[in-house]
Symmetry: C2
Subunit: 179 residues, 2 copies
DNA sequence: GTCTATACTTAGATAGAC
DNA sequence: GTCTATCTAAGTATAGAC
């Protein structure tokens, strides 16, 4: 992969995360890159192709996780979700939060959506024969390893090993039925 | 407040939530309303004014909650956050997730941002003399009453009283130090 | 209160030179 | 690989009639 192409992806990651996909123009990207808009088209077919290239990695990682989820004990599954979210924090936020990004990806029917992957993981956490209670607890645990982790990172906090273990333990407590 | 004005706000709420603020055009809104674009300008000074009108309610509700937070026991605070998030679900998602909405609001320095309110609430939940551990647990509890609740609603689940109590209990468990 | 018409700007994208 | 120049479409917004 060429150097310029990678630079474009880096810039796009940052700008998309900051203002969203729709609100970021190719002019914005070209300006930061120090080139003209036209130059971008040598590296990508369209604006949408830039987004596609960005999100394919975290999306496949999460899709694989969802496929393997049923074979993992809940604690290991939560740990895997937490680590994946940390590793791909910026792109994962984009995928999960920005409505214009979601809408662009939903237009491609061949690919699993972020919402579908989320639903699968929560369903596995809710266990076989899920009840309203176990489903609620699954959502709570999932929000802890995903949203709480991202929130800490977004606030500028470092997610060191102590914090990571604390979050994981909180998620496990949330998942287990109360006394 | 006039009938048309309220209709515009309802349509904008739906479209902004679905595709984001930046990706929704005044043409989109006018089309659904069954009028021309120009008609919108009789009711609002600008596109941004529509967004401002929409988010002012949930933003002030959450700001008040943050101001009163220190006087509430943690469980009651979590319950209040949960109920506020449920009551204002769509607008709250917009405020919390859409980057273009956030950027528009951040431009107005006189108003507290959603991120600031979030930070305040988490800080209160982390207690006096917060540690890395108590902060992590605060984030976990906060993500449970906010994100998990919204996720259940977004999936089309009904947040009945049983589910509400289950979520709240999970958040309290997440907040308390582990055994 | 709503319309048509239009001004002005920017968007994404392409053509062709270098 | 990158440029300048340009196309077309769409965006927000305004003017003025009804």
């Amino acid at each position: 992969m060429s150097d310029t192409r990678q630079k474009i992806l880096d810039i796009a990651t940052e700008l998309f995360a900051e203002r969203g996909y729709a609100a970021t123009s190719l002019s914005d990207i070209a300006e930061r890159l120090g080139t003209s808009k036209a130059a971008l088209y040598y590296h990508f077919r369209s604006k949408g192709a830039i987004l596609d290239a960005l999100v394919s990695e975290p999306l496949t990682a999460f899709t694989k996780l969802a496929a393997a989820a049923r074979d993992l004990p809940p604690r290991d599954l939560l740990a895997a979700i937490l680590d994946t979210a940390i590793a791909m924090r910026t792109l994962f936020e984009l995928l999960d939060k920005d409505p214009s990004t979601r809408k662009h990806l939903d237009a491609d029917a061949t690919r699993a959506t972020s919402a579908q992957v989320n639903a699968t993981l929560v369903a596995v956490l809710a266990g076989p024969d899920p009840t309203a209670g176990s489903t609620a607890r699954a959502h709570a645990a999932y929000a802890t390893v995903k949203n709480a982790a991202l929130a800490i990172l977004a606030q500028g906090g470092d997610l060191d090993d102590l914090t990571r273990r604390e979050l994981l333990a909180a998620a496990v407590r949330a998942l287990e039925p109360g006394a």
